[in-house]
C-alpha cells in the first residue's frame, strides 16, 4: 500500500477515539464489563495462589527439609524402630543437620480435679529446632538435662492455659510417671494449625521431657518416630534413600516402616491448587467472555447507529480496510482500557486488602499479563464481526439513498 503505515494507523486510531468519544457513557459501561471480567481472572488467580501459599506454609511449618521415619505397627509381624536403629541411623545417614527421635505415651493427670489425658513426649534438645517449636515462656530442654535424665518438662501452650490459665508460669510442677517434674518452659508449634494436615504429636495437651528420662522411667522399647532435618532441600531425597536402606538392612522388610518427607505433600498441594485454580479461572473466564460479548453487542449497536457516518466516510474515499481497522480499534480500545482497569482492580484490591490486614498477598505477574492479553484478545475477537459489518456496508444504502 502507498499509505504510510504508522501514520495511517495513528489516523485511524484518532478516528476510533472520535467514534468512542461520541458515546462516552456507553463506552464506559462496556469497559466496566471488560474490567470486571479481567479483574475476576486476576483476583481468582491471586486467591488460588494465596490458598496454595497458605497450605504450603502449614506444611513447611512442620519443619523445613524434614524427613521422618516411623514404624506403622501394621502387618503380620509388626516391627518398630528400636533404639539400636536410632543409633545406626544417627551414624549412617548423611546430609543430616539435626536428628530427633521421639518417644511418646499418654498420661492421665488431674486438671482442677478432673482427669485429663495428655501426651508425654521424650525428645532430645534438637527436637525444638527440627520441628519449628517456639518457646513462648521459660526455655526448652538442655543437652545436660537429656544426658542426666533430669525430671524437667516443657509443656504446650494449650496445657499451660488449661492448667494455669496463663503461659507465664512461676515455679510449677507436673506429675508424670508418678514423679514430680519441674516445668521449665512453655512451647507452641511454629505453625499452629500444622495439626490440620496430619495429627502432630506436638499438638494439643503435651508435656515434653528429656529422651533419656522418658526411656529410663517408662521402659519403652521403641521410638515413635525419628525426625531428620536435611542440610538443604536438595538433600531431602538422599536422606530418605539413606534412612530407608539403613532400616532395610536392619529389618526383614521395609513394609512395616514409613520413611517420608514433606515433598510428597507439597507436590500434592501443588496439584490440588493447580486443579482448583484452573477451575476458578475457567469460571472467571466466563465473565471475560461475557465482557467480550458485551463489546460485540455494543459495537453492533454502534455500527448500526453510525451507518450514515460510515457511508459518508466510504463516499469520501475511506477504504473498506480503513473502516474495518477503525472499528476494530474501537473494540480494542474498549477492551484495552477495560483490561487495564480490571488488572488494576484485580491486582490492586488484593494487595490493598493484604496491606490492611498485614497479609502477604501473592499477585502473579504472569496471571496479570495473561488476563490482560486475553481481555484485549477477547475484545478484538468480538470486535471482528461488527467491524466487518461496518466495512462491508453498501455505500448507497448507508448514505440513506435506499
Amino acid at each position: 500500500m502507498e499509505r504510510p503505515t504508522t501514520e495511517w494507523l495513528s489516523l485511524l486510531f484518532r478516528f476510533a477515539l472520535d467514534g468512542l468519544s461520541g458515546q462516552r457513557g456507553r463506552s464506559l459501561l462496556t469497559m466496566l464489563g471488560m474490567a470486571i471480567g479481567t479483574a475476576s481472572v486476576v483476583a481468582v488467580v491471586s486467591i488460588g495462589l494465596l490458598g496454595r501459599d497458605y497450605v504450603i506454609g502449614l506444611i513447611e511449618g512442620v519443619g523445613s527439609n524434614l524427613v521422618f521415619a516411623y514404624g506403622t505397627g501394621g502387618g503380620v509381624n509388626p516391627e518398630e524402630l528400636a533404639f539400636e536403629d536410632v543409633d545406626a541411623l544417627r551414624q549412617r545417614v548423611p546430609y543430616v543437620a539435626a536428628m530427633a527421635p521421639v518417644l511418646s505415651g499418654n498420661e492421665l493427670i488431674s486438671v482442677k480435679n478432673q482427669p485429663e489425658t495428655i501426651s508425654v513426649l521424650g525428645v532430645t534438645p534438637e527436637y525444638a529446632p527440627v520441628r519449628n517449636l517456639v518457646v513462648v515462656g521459660g526455655r526448652f530442654l538442655t543437652a545436660a538435662e537429656d544426658a542426666g535424665g533430669a525430671k524437667v518438662a516443657v509443656i504446650s501452650k494449650e496445657l499451660a492455659l488449661k492448667l494455669y490459665g496463663t503461659t507465664r508460669l512461676g515455679e510449677e510442677w507436673i506429675r508424670i510417671f508418678g514423679l514430680r517434674f519441674q516445668i521449665v518452659g512453655v512451647f507452641r508449634e511454629g505453625v499452629e494449625s500444622a495439626a490440620a494436615l496430619q495429627k502432630s504429636e506436638a499438638a494439643g495437651l503435651v508435656a515434653i521431657i528429656p529422651f533419656s528420662t522418658f526411656r529410663n522411667l517408662s521402659g519403652v522399647r521403641f521410638v515413635d518416630v525419628v525426625y531428620f532435618q536435611a542440610v538443604n532441600a536438595m538433600a531431602v531425597p538422599a536422606v530418605v534413600e539413606a534412612a530407608s536402606s539403613v532400616i532395610a538392612s536392619r529389618h526383614r522388610t521395609l513394609s512395616s516402616f514409613k520413611i517420608e518427607s514433606l515433598d510428597q505433600y507439597l507436590v500434592l498441594v501443588q496439584r490440588i491448587s493447580d486443579a482448583v485454580s484452573a477451575g476458578l479461572i475457567a469460571i472467571a473466564a466466563v465473565s471475560l467472555l461475557v465482557g467480550g460479548i458485551g463489546i460485540m453487542n455494543i459495537m453492533l449497536v454502534t455500527v448500526t447507529e453510525r451507518t450514515q457516518d460510515i457511508g459518508i466516510r466510504l463516499a469520501l474515499g475511506a477504504g473498506r480496510r480503513d473502516i474495518l481497522l477503525q472499528f476494530l480499534m474501537e473494540a480494542g480500545i474498549l477492551s484495552l482500557l477495560g483490561g487495564i482497569a480490571g488488572t488494576l482492580i484485580g491486582a490492586g484490591l488484593p494487595l490493598y486488602i493484604g496491606f490492611l490486614y498485614g497479609i502477604e498477598v501473592p499477585v502473579s505477574g504472569i496471571s496479570v499479563a495473561v488476563a490482560f492479553a486475553v481481555s484485549v484478545g477477547v475484545g478484538l475477537f468480538f470486535g471482528i464481526y461488527p467491524a466487518r459489518k461496518a466495512a462491508n456496508m453498501n455505500i448507497i444504502d448507508a448514505l440513506g439513498y435506499a
Binding site: R313, A315, G317
Partner: protein, 246 residues
C-alpha cells in the same frame, strides 16, 4: 437496441460548451437493473453520456427516472452495472470497490442534499477528512481544509461543529470538503434541496464560480430552476423519448 428501450437523454445545445475540451466522463451503453420486492426494475437502459472538462452540467429528471442510479455510477458509488465508463481517461467500470474508493477520494468531490457532515467533528476536521483518507500529512490536510473553508467564507467558524452553523454555512463547509483534494469533478446531488431559495441561490453562485475557475461541475437535480444554473442540461426520463422538457 430500440429507441424506446434507451434512456432518453436530451441535450440542450449551448454555444458556451467547448467541444474541443478533453472528455472527462465517457459512458457507453450503461445499463442497470436491480431487484426491488422481488421484481426486476430497470433503472438505466443503454445510456451514453459524455461530459467534457470544464463543463457545468445539470442532470435532470423526475424521481424514478434513473437519475439517482446515474449519479451513483458517475460518483463511483455503484460498481454493478453494464457498459463502459471512462473517467478522466481511465476505464473505471469493473474496478474493485477499494480501487473505486481511492479514485472517488481523489477525483470526485461530493456535495450532498443533506450535507452529510459528521456531527461530532468540527467543520475543519470534516473538510480535512477526504485529504486524511488520501493519506496526506495531517498538517497539510488541515491547511488545505482551512484554505477552502476560508474561500467559502467560513474563516471564523473553523472550530464549530455543523449543528452550530446555519444550513447555508453547512453546505458551504460541505463544498469546502468536496474541494479539499482538488477533484476533477464536483458532483452535487440536489445541493439546494434542503435550503431556502435565497441560500439556494448563494450555493448555486458558488458552484458557478467554481466552474468559472475551471472545475467541472455536475449538478443532479429535479428542480428546473436549479438546473437552469448550469450551462448544459441533460434530461433523463425512463424509456420515453418524448418525455417533456421544461
Amino acid at each position: 437496441m430500440s429507441r424506446r428501450q434507451t434512456t432518453a437523454i436530451r441535450r440542450i445545445p449551448d454555444e458556451r460548451v467547448d467541444t474541443t475540451a478533453q472528455p472527462l466522463v465517457e459512458m457507453h451503453h450503461i445499463a442497470k437493473t436491480y431487484q426491488r420486492d422481488g421484481a426486476a426494475v430497470t433503472a438505466l437502459r443503454g445510456l451514453d453520456l459524455m461530459i467534457r472538462q470544464g463543463e457545468f452540467t445539470a442532470i435532470m429528471g423526475r424521481s424514478g427516472s434513473g437519475k439517482s442510479t446515474l449519479l451513483h455510477i458517475l460518483g463511483l458509488l455503484d460498481e454493478e452495472y453494464e457498459g463502459t465508463y471512462q473517467l478522466d481517461g481511465q476505464l473505471v467500470s469493473g474496478l474493485s470497490a477499494d480501487e473505486l474508493s481511492r479514485l472517488r477520494n481523489r477525483k470526485i468531490g461530493f456535495v450532498f442534499q443533506s450535507f452529510h457532515l459528521l456531527p461530532q467533528l468540527t467543520i475543519l476536521e470534516n473538510a480535512a477528512l477526504p485529504a486524511l483518507y488520501a493519506g496526506k500529512r495531517p498538517r497539510d490536510c488541515r491547511a488545505a481544509a482551512r484554505m477552502h473553508l476560508e474561500r467559502m467564507g467560513l474563516a471564523e467558524r473553523l472550530d464549530h461543529r455543523p449543528m452550530e452553523l446555519s444550513i447555508g454555512q453547512r453546505q458551504r463547509a460541505a463544498i469546502a470538503r468536496a474541494l479539499v483534494n482538488e477533484p476533477r469533478i464536483v458532483l452535487a446531488d440536489e445541493p439546494t434541496g434542503a435550503l431556502d431559495s435565497r441560500t439556494a441561490m448563494e450555493i448555486l453562485d458558488i458552484l458557478r464560480d467554481l466552474n468559472r475557475s475551471g472545475t467541472t461541475v455536475i449538478l443532479v437535480t429535479h428542480d428546473h430552476e436549479v438546473g437552469e444554473a448550469a450551462e448544459r442540461i441533460i434530461h433523463i426520463s425512463d424509456g420515453t423519448a418524448d418525455d417533456g422538457v421544461a
